[in-house]
Assembly symmetry: C2
Homo-oligomer: 183 residues x 2
Protein backbone atom coordinates (compact mmCIF):
# COMPACT_ATOMS: atom_id res chain seq x y z
CA UNK A 1 0.00 0.00 0.00
CA UNK A 2 1.38 3.38 -0.91
CA UNK A 3 2.05 5.89 1.82
CA UNK A 4 0.39 9.18 2.68
CA UNK A 5 3.13 11.69 3.39
CA UNK A 6 2.83 15.00 5.21
CA UNK A 7 5.64 17.47 4.50
CA UNK A 8 5.67 20.64 6.58
CA UNK A 9 8.08 23.41 7.51
CA UNK A 10 7.97 24.52 11.13
CA UNK A 11 9.87 26.84 13.43
CA UNK A 12 11.73 25.32 16.38
CA UNK A 13 8.83 26.32 18.62
CA UNK A 14 6.21 24.61 16.47
CA UNK A 15 4.67 27.30 14.28
CA UNK A 16 3.98 26.90 10.58
CA UNK A 17 3.08 30.57 10.11
CA UNK A 18 3.54 33.78 12.04
CA UNK A 19 0.51 35.48 13.60
CA UNK A 20 -0.14 37.33 10.32
CA UNK A 21 0.53 34.36 8.07
CA UNK A 22 4.25 35.13 7.75
CA UNK A 23 6.27 32.38 6.06
CA UNK A 24 9.19 34.59 5.01
CA UNK A 25 11.43 32.54 7.34
CA UNK A 26 10.84 29.42 5.29
CA UNK A 27 14.01 28.31 3.50
CA UNK A 28 14.15 26.27 0.30
CA UNK A 29 17.81 25.42 -0.06
CA UNK A 30 19.23 23.78 -3.15
CA UNK A 31 20.51 20.85 -1.06
CA UNK A 32 16.99 20.03 0.11
CA UNK A 33 16.15 17.87 -2.90
CA UNK A 34 12.49 18.75 -2.89
CA UNK A 35 12.45 17.48 -6.47
CA UNK A 36 13.29 14.01 -5.16
CA UNK A 37 10.35 14.19 -2.80
CA UNK A 38 8.09 15.30 -5.65
CA UNK A 39 9.39 12.44 -7.72
CA UNK A 40 8.39 9.98 -4.97
CA UNK A 41 4.69 10.96 -5.17
CA UNK A 42 2.19 10.84 -8.02
CA UNK A 43 -0.91 12.09 -6.22
CA UNK A 44 -1.64 15.19 -4.12
CA UNK A 45 -4.42 15.58 -1.53
CA UNK A 46 -5.72 19.12 -1.05
CA UNK A 47 -8.34 20.77 1.10
CA UNK A 48 -10.60 22.97 -1.00
CA UNK A 49 -9.15 26.30 0.18
CA UNK A 50 -5.56 25.14 -0.37
CA UNK A 51 -6.46 23.82 -3.79
CA UNK A 52 -8.01 27.13 -4.81
CA UNK A 53 -4.93 28.98 -3.56
CA UNK A 54 -2.17 26.66 -4.82
CA UNK A 55 -3.66 23.83 -6.86
CA UNK A 56 -3.24 25.65 -10.15
CA UNK A 57 -0.63 28.22 -9.19
CA UNK A 58 1.85 29.23 -11.84
CA UNK A 59 4.95 31.19 -10.90
CA UNK A 60 5.96 34.21 -12.97
CA UNK A 61 7.78 33.27 -16.14
CA UNK A 62 10.77 35.19 -14.75
CA UNK A 63 11.05 32.91 -11.69
CA UNK A 64 14.18 30.85 -11.27
CA UNK A 65 14.42 27.56 -13.11
CA UNK A 66 14.24 25.44 -9.96
CA UNK A 67 10.94 27.01 -8.99
CA UNK A 68 9.54 26.62 -12.49
CA UNK A 69 10.59 22.98 -12.54
CA UNK A 70 9.06 22.30 -9.12
CA UNK A 71 5.69 23.72 -10.11
CA UNK A 72 5.76 21.86 -13.39
CA UNK A 73 6.31 18.66 -11.40
CA UNK A 74 3.45 19.54 -9.02
CA UNK A 75 1.10 20.07 -11.92
CA UNK A 76 1.97 16.69 -13.42
CA UNK A 77 0.41 14.90 -10.43
CA UNK A 78 -3.08 13.53 -9.95
CA UNK A 79 -4.88 16.03 -7.73
CA UNK A 80 -7.63 15.13 -5.32
CA UNK A 81 -9.59 17.79 -3.45
CA UNK A 82 -11.57 17.11 -0.28
CA UNK A 83 -14.48 19.52 -0.18
CA UNK A 84 -18.00 19.81 1.17
CA UNK A 85 -19.28 20.59 -2.34
CA UNK A 86 -19.05 18.84 -5.69
CA UNK A 87 -17.29 20.72 -8.46
CA UNK A 88 -16.40 20.00 -12.07
CA UNK A 89 -12.71 20.75 -12.44
CA UNK A 90 -10.51 19.86 -15.38
CA UNK A 91 -7.44 19.46 -13.17
CA UNK A 92 -8.72 17.69 -10.07
CA UNK A 93 -11.13 15.10 -8.71
CA UNK A 94 -13.42 16.30 -5.93
CA UNK A 95 -14.36 14.04 -3.01
CA UNK A 96 -17.29 15.26 -0.91
CA UNK A 97 -18.17 12.29 1.30
CA UNK A 98 -16.80 9.13 2.91
CA UNK A 99 -13.32 10.57 3.33
CA UNK A 100 -11.79 7.55 5.06
CA UNK A 101 -13.23 5.00 2.61
CA UNK A 102 -12.13 7.06 -0.37
CA UNK A 103 -8.66 7.65 1.03
CA UNK A 104 -8.16 3.92 1.68
CA UNK A 105 -9.40 3.14 -1.83
CA UNK A 106 -6.97 5.58 -3.46
CA UNK A 107 -4.20 4.36 -1.21
CA UNK A 108 -4.74 0.77 -2.27
CA UNK A 109 -4.40 1.65 -5.95
CA UNK A 110 -1.10 1.00 -7.69
CA UNK A 111 1.26 3.96 -7.74
CA UNK A 112 3.76 6.11 -5.95
CA UNK A 113 3.22 7.73 -2.56
CA UNK A 114 0.63 10.44 -1.90
CA UNK A 115 1.45 13.95 -0.73
CA UNK A 116 -0.97 15.36 1.84
CA UNK A 117 -0.61 19.03 0.95
CA UNK A 118 -2.99 20.64 3.46
CA UNK A 119 -4.45 22.94 4.72
CA UNK A 120 -4.61 22.74 8.44
CA UNK A 121 -8.16 21.41 8.72
CA UNK A 122 -7.54 18.54 6.30
CA UNK A 123 -4.31 17.65 8.11
CA UNK A 124 -6.17 17.59 11.43
CA UNK A 125 -8.78 15.27 9.95
CA UNK A 126 -6.08 12.95 8.64
CA UNK A 127 -4.24 12.92 11.97
CA UNK A 128 -7.43 12.25 13.93
CA UNK A 129 -8.24 9.31 11.66
CA UNK A 130 -4.68 8.00 11.83
CA UNK A 131 -4.31 8.22 8.04
CA UNK A 132 -0.82 9.73 7.78
CA UNK A 133 1.98 7.20 7.28
CA UNK A 134 4.99 9.51 7.12
CA UNK A 135 5.62 12.90 8.72
CA UNK A 136 8.47 14.93 7.19
CA UNK A 137 8.88 17.97 9.42
CA UNK A 138 11.54 20.53 8.50
CA UNK A 139 12.54 22.39 11.64
CA UNK A 140 13.79 25.86 10.73
CA UNK A 141 16.42 27.62 12.85
CA UNK A 142 14.29 30.25 14.56
CA UNK A 143 11.52 30.74 17.08
CA UNK A 144 8.49 32.97 16.56
CA UNK A 145 6.80 32.77 19.97
CA UNK A 146 3.38 32.96 18.35
CA UNK A 147 1.55 31.96 15.19
CA UNK A 148 -0.32 29.06 13.66
CA UNK A 149 0.37 25.79 15.48
CA UNK A 150 1.98 22.89 13.61
CA UNK A 151 -0.81 20.35 14.12
CA UNK A 152 -3.61 22.49 15.49
CA UNK A 153 -5.45 21.33 18.56
CA UNK A 154 -5.20 17.53 18.63
CA UNK A 155 -7.84 15.56 20.50
CA UNK A 156 -5.28 13.08 21.76
CA UNK A 157 -1.54 12.57 21.98
CA UNK A 158 0.08 11.65 18.66
CA UNK A 159 2.93 9.19 19.26
CA UNK A 160 5.54 9.05 16.48
CA UNK A 161 8.46 6.84 15.53
CA UNK A 162 11.62 8.56 14.30
CA UNK A 163 12.91 6.94 11.12
CA UNK A 164 15.47 9.47 9.95
CA UNK A 165 16.94 12.96 10.05
CA UNK A 166 18.58 15.17 7.44
CA UNK A 167 20.53 18.33 8.13
CA UNK A 168 20.75 21.04 5.47
CA UNK A 169 23.38 23.71 5.08
CA UNK A 170 20.90 26.44 5.97
CA UNK A 171 20.47 24.93 9.44
CA UNK A 172 17.13 23.34 8.65
CA UNK A 173 16.81 19.85 10.17
CA UNK A 174 14.29 17.52 8.62
CA UNK A 175 12.85 15.02 11.07
CA UNK A 176 11.13 12.03 9.49
CA UNK A 177 8.62 10.01 11.50
CA UNK A 178 6.19 7.18 10.94
CA UNK A 179 3.05 6.67 12.96
CA UNK A 180 3.82 4.85 16.18
CA UNK A 181 0.20 3.80 16.75
CA UNK A 182 -1.35 1.28 14.42
CA UNK A 183 -5.09 1.13 14.09
Amino acid sequence: MRKIVLDLATTLDGFIEGPNGEVDWCIMDDDMSFDEFLDSVDTIFYGRVSYDAWGNFHPDAGSNLTELALWKAVHSKRKIVFSSREREDANAEFITADLITNVKKIQSQEGKDIWLYGGAKLIETFIKNNLIDTYRISVHPLALGKGKALFGDLTKVLPLKLVGTKTFKSGVVQLIYERAAKE
Copy 2:
Protein backbone atom coordinates in the same frame (compact mmCIF):
# COMPACT_ATOMS: atom_id res chain seq x y z
CA MET B 1 33.71 34.02 28.47
CA ARG B 2 31.80 30.99 29.61
CA LYS B 3 28.52 30.15 27.97
CA ILE B 4 24.97 30.24 29.25
CA VAL B 5 23.26 27.06 28.12
CA LEU B 6 19.55 26.33 27.95
CA ASP B 7 18.64 22.64 27.87
CA LEU B 8 14.98 21.79 27.29
CA ALA B 9 12.87 18.84 26.24
CA THR B 10 10.05 19.61 23.83
CA THR B 11 7.46 17.75 21.82
CA LEU B 12 7.64 17.95 18.03
CA ASP B 13 4.92 20.58 18.12
CA GLY B 14 6.75 22.80 20.59
CA PHE B 15 5.30 22.05 24.01
CA ILE B 16 7.37 21.55 27.15
CA GLU B 17 4.40 20.37 29.20
CA GLY B 18 0.90 19.12 28.52
CA PRO B 19 -2.09 21.32 29.46
CA ASN B 20 -2.06 19.86 32.99
CA GLY B 21 1.71 19.97 33.41
CA GLU B 22 2.22 16.47 31.98
CA VAL B 23 5.87 15.57 31.34
CA ASP B 24 5.37 11.79 31.39
CA TRP B 25 6.42 11.72 27.70
CA CYS B 26 9.87 12.99 28.57
CA ILE B 27 12.52 10.34 27.94
CA MET B 28 15.89 10.12 29.68
CA ASP B 29 17.73 7.42 27.78
CA ASP B 30 21.04 6.01 28.89
CA ASP B 31 22.65 7.07 25.60
CA MET B 32 21.81 10.72 26.24
CA SER B 33 24.92 11.43 28.32
CA PHE B 34 23.24 13.98 30.52
CA ASP B 35 26.12 13.41 32.91
CA GLU B 36 28.48 14.82 30.28
CA PHE B 37 26.35 17.93 30.03
CA LEU B 38 26.33 18.28 33.82
CA ASP B 39 30.09 17.88 33.80
CA SER B 40 30.39 20.80 31.36
CA VAL B 41 28.74 23.26 33.77
CA ASP B 42 29.65 24.39 37.28
CA THR B 43 26.88 26.92 37.88
CA ILE B 44 23.08 26.74 37.64
CA PHE B 45 20.69 29.67 37.20
CA TYR B 46 17.22 29.21 38.67
CA GLY B 47 14.08 31.28 38.90
CA ARG B 48 12.80 31.37 42.47
CA VAL B 49 9.86 29.01 41.91
CA SER B 50 12.02 26.46 40.08
CA TYR B 51 14.63 26.66 42.80
CA ASP B 52 12.08 26.00 45.51
CA ALA B 53 10.72 23.05 43.53
CA TRP B 54 13.98 21.49 42.32
CA GLY B 55 16.96 23.35 43.74
CA ASN B 56 17.28 21.04 46.72
CA PHE B 57 15.38 18.03 45.45
CA HIS B 58 16.59 14.63 46.58
CA PRO B 59 15.31 11.50 44.87
CA ASP B 60 14.19 8.55 46.96
CA ALA B 61 17.07 6.44 48.20
CA GLY B 62 15.55 3.60 46.18
CA SER B 63 15.91 5.46 42.88
CA ASN B 64 18.19 4.03 40.23
CA LEU B 65 21.88 4.79 40.44
CA THR B 66 21.91 7.01 37.37
CA GLU B 67 19.28 9.28 38.85
CA LEU B 68 21.04 9.41 42.20
CA ALA B 69 24.32 10.27 40.48
CA LEU B 70 22.69 13.01 38.36
CA TRP B 71 21.17 14.72 41.37
CA LYS B 72 24.42 14.43 43.28
CA ALA B 73 26.13 16.19 40.39
CA VAL B 74 23.44 18.90 40.30
CA HIS B 75 23.90 19.57 43.99
CA SER B 76 27.66 19.97 43.58
CA LYS B 77 27.15 23.10 41.46
CA ARG B 78 27.09 26.74 42.43
CA LYS B 79 23.44 27.76 42.45
CA ILE B 80 22.18 31.23 41.70
CA VAL B 81 18.55 32.19 42.14
CA PHE B 82 16.94 35.19 40.46
CA SER B 83 14.16 36.44 42.68
CA SER B 84 12.31 39.62 43.55
CA ARG B 85 13.16 39.10 47.24
CA GLU B 86 16.38 38.62 49.17
CA ARG B 87 16.77 35.37 51.05
CA GLU B 88 19.44 33.79 53.18
CA ASP B 89 19.99 30.29 51.81
CA ALA B 90 22.82 27.94 52.69
CA ASN B 91 22.80 26.38 49.22
CA ALA B 92 22.29 29.31 46.85
CA GLU B 93 23.07 32.96 46.18
CA PHE B 94 20.04 35.18 45.59
CA ILE B 95 20.11 38.01 43.03
CA THR B 96 17.27 40.51 43.30
CA ALA B 97 18.30 43.38 41.02
CA ASP B 98 20.40 44.32 37.99
CA LEU B 99 19.93 40.95 36.34
CA ILE B 100 21.88 41.72 33.18
CA THR B 101 24.85 43.26 34.97
CA ASN B 102 25.01 40.40 37.45
CA VAL B 103 24.71 37.76 34.73
CA LYS B 104 27.53 39.34 32.72
CA LYS B 105 29.68 39.53 35.85
CA ILE B 106 29.16 35.87 36.69
CA GLN B 107 29.72 34.95 33.08
CA SER B 108 33.05 36.75 32.98
CA GLN B 109 34.33 34.81 35.99
CA GLU B 110 36.62 31.85 35.42
CA GLY B 111 34.88 28.52 35.22
CA LYS B 112 32.84 26.07 33.24
CA ASP B 113 29.61 26.86 31.42
CA ILE B 114 26.39 27.90 33.13
CA TRP B 115 23.14 25.96 32.97
CA LEU B 116 20.03 28.12 32.69
CA TYR B 117 17.59 25.79 34.42
CA GLY B 118 14.35 27.79 34.22
CA GLY B 119 11.43 28.33 34.77
CA ALA B 120 9.64 29.79 31.86
CA LYS B 121 9.65 33.40 33.05
CA LEU B 122 13.39 33.44 33.68
CA ILE B 123 14.03 31.85 30.28
CA GLU B 124 11.86 34.50 28.62
CA THR B 125 13.84 37.24 30.36
CA PHE B 126 17.12 35.70 29.21
CA ILE B 127 15.89 35.34 25.62
CA LYS B 128 14.58 38.91 25.51
CA ASN B 129 17.93 40.20 26.72
CA ASN B 130 19.85 37.99 24.32
CA LEU B 131 21.73 36.32 27.16
CA ILE B 132 21.55 32.68 26.06
CA ASP B 133 24.59 31.43 24.14
CA THR B 134 23.57 27.83 23.47
CA TYR B 135 20.15 26.25 23.04
CA ARG B 136 20.03 22.44 23.43
CA ILE B 137 16.51 21.42 22.49
CA SER B 138 15.60 17.73 22.69
CA VAL B 139 12.71 17.09 20.33
CA HIS B 140 10.67 14.13 21.57
CA PRO B 141 8.83 11.87 19.12
CA LEU B 142 5.26 12.91 19.77
CA ALA B 143 2.82 15.78 19.41
CA LEU B 144 0.49 17.02 22.14
CA GLY B 145 -1.56 19.62 20.27
CA LYS B 146 -1.76 21.76 23.38
CA GLY B 147 0.22 22.66 26.47
CA LYS B 148 2.88 25.05 27.69
CA ALA B 149 4.78 26.67 24.80
CA LEU B 150 8.53 26.12 24.46
CA PHE B 151 9.63 29.75 24.65
CA GLY B 152 6.43 31.47 25.75
CA ASP B 153 5.30 34.55 23.90
CA LEU B 154 8.41 36.18 22.45
CA THR B 155 8.35 39.89 21.70
CA LYS B 156 10.38 39.40 18.54
CA VAL B 157 11.66 36.68 16.26
CA LEU B 158 14.56 34.69 17.70
CA PRO B 159 16.99 33.74 14.93
CA LEU B 160 19.23 30.75 15.70
CA LYS B 161 22.27 29.09 14.18
CA LEU B 162 22.33 25.30 14.07
CA VAL B 163 25.64 23.95 15.37
CA GLY B 164 24.86 20.27 15.80
CA THR B 165 22.36 17.46 16.12
CA LYS B 166 22.34 14.19 18.05
CA THR B 167 19.91 11.34 17.56
CA PHE B 168 19.15 8.99 20.43
CA LYS B 169 17.87 5.45 20.29
CA SER B 170 14.54 6.47 21.80
CA GLY B 171 13.86 8.69 18.79
CA VAL B 172 14.69 11.90 20.61
CA VAL B 173 16.65 14.33 18.41
CA GLN B 174 18.71 16.96 20.16
CA LEU B 175 19.09 20.15 18.14
CA ILE B 176 21.89 22.43 19.28
CA TYR B 177 21.83 26.11 18.33
CA GLU B 178 23.80 29.23 19.09
CA ARG B 179 22.34 32.72 18.97
CA ALA B 180 22.36 34.01 15.42
CA ALA B 181 21.96 37.64 16.50
CA LYS B 182 24.83 39.32 18.29
CA GLU B 183 24.13 42.34 20.43
